[in-house]
Amino acid sequence: MHEGIARAVENVSFTLKKGEMLGLAGESGCGKTTTALSVMRLLPPGGKILNGEIIVDNEDLVKKTDREMRDIRWKKISMVFQGAMNALNPVIRVGEQVAESIVEKEKVSKGEALKRARLLFELVGLDSSRVTNYPHEFSGGMRQRVMIAMALACNPSIVIADEPVTALDVIVQTRILELLKELQRKLSLSVVMITHDLSVIAETCDRVAIMYAGRIVELGNVVDVYKNSRHPYTEALITAFPSIAGKKRRFDSIPGDPPDLTSPPSGCRFHPRCPMQQDTCRTLDPEYLKIGPDHYVACHHSEKVETT
């Protein structure tokens, strides 16, 4: 690790449509979680939004004071944090932990909050009598339901779910993803799903943004991006993703490692690993261009990249 300023997320632009599920995909360190934490205004100490805007209901969250954010965070935009299901307090009853989180966010009595916790349990498919259980009495899938319940406690319209099914077994994964879909419909939520798993996005999201080294390199509806990708990184990543469907064959891997963001490569950040790199790629940062209805890409060769 080098010391210095890491520009974890740079020039990232996307819109989240009402009622859609948008996937944010990329490898570790590409800036998916940092993007989400910026939206929540919960960047870790030292982290700063240098410029840009985050517009929710015609208001720019970047300009909000911490105090103003309290009326927005959890109430308009909420988040299910990665791995938080394993961070439940083992010695406090699960329902109480949900109630506590409600009391923290809204001025309600403990009793009222507990009542709401029971309703939230039902909403996420848990038996409301289980509010008195301790975390160890819950399976991983059930604990993740609790985290989703907490995120929904103050009726947000936007939910960011960070790796919500990572580390869960596939059968449980399906159930959690189905729950998210169902809640999205029922509560007309707009959801941002962050994951490194391209197959999870393929099966659940309407649109997807692919991030690499702090940038969105491609964005569009899932069918366009997966079937007609126009960025060499997306193309390489998707065609080399092991699957139980399709023909069994050997994939070419992408050479090298993702860059260190304290000293990112010049020009296009993917150029050192890109099979199509040319001089322009080494010197000129590609613009993020609209190349089709709702399909955006940042590559000097976007017109040449075609799915084979």
Partner: protein, 334 residues
């Protein structure tokens, strides 16, 4: 399942851990066991990649540890290159371990951050007293680094783990597995911690090594897509028992056992135009302390009948080298 050219042959392997449950257990001195692995049999041909797959708690890692005699087996036998692993003396076992090596999941945990790469790779040679010659040691370390494509080797040998990326660390862990020139490499979720682009690099590396050295792999994974990419054969475990086994391609394309079918149907695929029906499975995997009688999948099986609750099904051949442990195999293959 016995085959002539089997390098590894596991028969009725059982690993039970003692557990005591509550006050009554102590009073009655009733023995309680966590049956982590229960009568597992399979064999691995020389030069093949055998995948051990299953969800968490299925006993796949414990099976592998018992094969390497890192965990004591309760019953059963493990034959490796004609020798009976479970009855060897300590010295014999130490010798045998040079021929069977293991790679772990987390390259941040499995290699010592205070040792240089050359020290990490030389350690197995020293522990097993392979050679005293410094020159030969160095040569073998460099060879191993070349094998895992950390080039130039003399440059990487000098480095420390913190100077390496996650993918490079896992290459070091693989090199450490190779430095003793083993016949069998057990890989326990070796790419699960790695990013997608690095994952394929490592999987391809393992496939290349297999070809170059005619290595045999026991590949442990929860990910059927990975198993299909790298494996020849697969054993699907559930709660310590083999549910189905056979060539990966067949098991994934036409699974027979209701559990395998549910599992396969729930694996997401990276193609938004493919809409697959997912088979719902009731409830959660029960605890290994409380294994259901009969077929252990019966409480969750959508097709369970009376016999499933009482009688344990045998693992029987259902296709070309494909085996399934279900009372109604005929129904699913008809």
């Amino acid at each position: 399942m016995m085959q002539q050219e089997a390098l590894l042959c596991v028969e009725n392997l059982s690993v039970w851990f003692p557990a005591r449950r509550g006050a009554t257990g102590i009073l009655t001195r009733e023995e309680q066991w966590v049956r982590a692995v229960d009568s597992v049999s399979f064999s691995v041909r020389k030069g093949e990649v055998m995948c051990l797959a299953g969800e968490s708690g299925s006993g796949k890692t414990t099976t592998a540890r018992a094969i390497l005699a890192l965990t004591a087996a309760k019953f059963g036998s493990v034959k490796f290159a004609g020798r009976d692993v479970l009855s060897l003396s300590k010295t014999e076992l130490r010798k045998l371990r040079c021929e069977m090596q293991i790679i772990f999941q987390d390259p941040y945990e499995s290699i010592d951050p205070r040792m240089s790469i050359s020290e990490i790779l030389a350690e197995p040679l020293e522990v097993n007293k392979v050679t005293r010659s410094r020159k030969e040691k160095e040569a073998r370390v460099w060879n191993a680094l070349e094998d895992v494509r950390l080039l130039p080797p003399q440059e990487f040998a000098r480095r420390f783990p913190h100077e390496l990326s996650g993918g490079q660390r896992q290459r070091v862990a693989i090199a450490r597995g190779l430095v003793l020139q083993p016949k069998l490499l057990v890989a326990d979720e070796p790419v699960s911690m790695l990013d997608a682009s690095i994952r394929v690099q490592i999987l391809n590396l393992l496939l290349d090594l297999r070809k170059e050295y005619d290595l045999t792999f026991l590949y442990i994974t929860h990910d059927l897509a990975q198993a299909r990419y790298i494996g020849n054969d697969i054993v699907i475990m559930y709660l310590g028992k083999v549910m189905e086994s056979g060539p990966v391609e067949d098991v994934v394309a036409k699974p027979v056992h209701p559990y395998t079918r549910a599992l396969v149907s729930n694996v997401p695929v990276p193609d938004p135009t493919l809409k697959r029906d997912k088979i719902a499975v009731k409830g959660e995997t029960p605890s290994a302390l409380d294994i259901p009688p009969g077929c252990r999948f019966h409480p969750r099986c959508p097709y369970a009948e009376e016999i499933c609750r009482t009688k344990e099904p045998a693992l029987l051949e259902v296709g070309d080298n494909q085996y399934s442990a279900c009372h109604f195999n005929d129904r699913w293959t008809a």
